[in-house]
Amino acid sequence: MRKQLCDALIDRSQSPDMIFLTGDLGFMALEDLRDSLGERFINAGVAEQNMVSVAAAMAKQNLEVWVYSIAPFCYARPFEQIRNDICFHDLPVKLIGNGGGYGYGVMGPTHHAIEDYGILLALPNMSVYVPVFDQDLAVVIPRVGNERSPAYLRLGRGEEQKGFEVPAYSPWRQLTSGKGKTVIAVGPIAGGLIAAFNKMPEDDCPNLWALAELPLSKNPLPLELLGQIASGSGLMVVEEHVARGSFASELAIFLLNNGIAIGSFEHFNAQSHTYDFYGSQNYLRKQSNLDVETICTAARGI
């Protein structure tokens, strides 16, 4: 998604108010943006705490400020700066974390972001964007750019099968239809399920929904999805995020608060950093039962 990110940001870069801060990342990805922004592209160096406070102060001066780093360096290292300087003051800083979930794979847990949106959504005023497809960036960047409150953009990579016709962007999109369970997947992991679900017999094929914006309280369930959940066919939530602070936990509270009965509930989520061996994103997903095969098996109720 980095190319699409760069293109979408370049489209905004003619605004004299736009500022882009990077924590020394973007090699072979953001050079065109740097050239387009000139002095408004600031490599803040390997100093994320300073970068985030600087961003807050620049936003306070009514500039449109974007902050970019590998995801955990963007939200974990400077957490207090995000909390105190950005969120307490409701400043519209746009944080971009590259490599959401296990995106950095074999680089190891220091580079993974499997608790990012749970942590950030615990803060006041924060919104989170998790684009599903590469094409989403053309719509998501203007949405984030126009936010008047803090926002975090979790970047991954589009995972849909080649040739899939990506539906127009919306925070909620139904990607497959059938008579099976209801499956909600957060972000790009939804794309990888489409082809596998479509191969299932209609009686098993889930109603797959992709969610691209959090929290739920700002992006209510579509009525059609609510109806599918309430039908009792069974609900699965798939997300590359730990259970604590997950979308599933917010959804479960919503369903319980509203007395909505569901037939069954299964949560497929990232396991915390307790494993001994490193591997690719797909390897780590498999360790967490987030691989397509395991999810398809569960969706069929086997």
Partner: protein, 240 residues
């Protein structure tokens, strides 16, 4: 104010009050910014704002009370002259640097002032900010350091020594000065020097300045005044 509310942090307020009042009355323009990095000196900030007519007597009477705008550290909202809710140390220099850089990019000539404590030079983020503000040659930025040499639980030299602080800072490409922190003419002289680099002025101050039993006493970082001490302090200041 502190006595009536039964709260402490008086020592660090008194060490920074002279410089803060000077900046607010003689230097801070309408569009300039002042960021109090050592948020625990909020009392001195409130007094400075009050003395400029930016806070009322009623505001001060509510200091530390339930429902107040004037808490123990600068508030998030409600007082336009306070841009950031500081209190956690190590944020102010970065906030000041971002403010100064934004103003420069917008082509406005306003100045940004930041008052920091010496203790917060133990925060790594303070050094990140120093690298950034000197690299970007933020000449529209002045950092004042309240160098009273006492922190929350000891002498800065005993806790995690940076002595001499000016020696540690000398390597940065900034205009560095060290002045007696309660000598107004010396501070004025330091503030006259305006080159093409950020200024950092180390104010050699006295914690609890002006009250004999508080001066250079670490415990006045936290302690509230008892009635007898309050009366003595008023007498020393020749106040009714």
């Amino acid at each position: 104010m502190h006595y009536e509310s039964g709260v402490g942090h008086i020592g660090g307020n008194l060490s920074s009050l002279d410089a803060m009042l000077l900046v607010f009355h003689e230097y801070l323009g309408v569009d300039d910014e002042f960021i109090l990095s050592k948020g625990h000196s909020a009392g001195a900030l409130y007094i400075s704002l009050w003395s400029r007519g930016l806070l009322s007597d009623d505001h001060l009477r509510q200091f530390h009370k339930d429902g107040t705008l004037l808490g123990g550290h600068p508030p998030v909202n409600g007082i336009p002259a306070i841009p950031f809710a500081t209190g956690s140390l190590g944020h102010g220099l970065s906030l000041a640097a971002g403010t100064a850089l934004a103003k420069r990019l917008r082509g406005v000539n306003d100045h940004t002032y930041c008052l920091a404590s010496d203790g917060e030079f133990q925060e790594g983020s303070t050094w990140e900010a120093l690298i950034f503000l000197s690299h970007h040659r933020l000449a529209n930025l002045t950092i004042l350091v309240d160098h009273n040499q006492l922190q929350g639980f000891g002498n800065t030299s005993d806790v995690a020594s940076m002595a001499p602080l000016w020696d540690k800072l000398r390597g940065f490409d900034i205009d560095l000065q060290v002045v007696p922190g309660h000598d107004l003419d010396a501070i004025r002289a330091a503030l006259k020097i305006q080159g093409d680099k950020p200024r950092l002025i180390i104010l050699q101050t006295i914690k609890g300045h002006g009250i004999s039993f508080m001066e250079n006493k670490m415990e006045w970082h936290y302690l509230p005044l008892k009635e007898g001490q309050y009366r003595q302090a008023l007498a020393e200041l020749e106040l009714p």
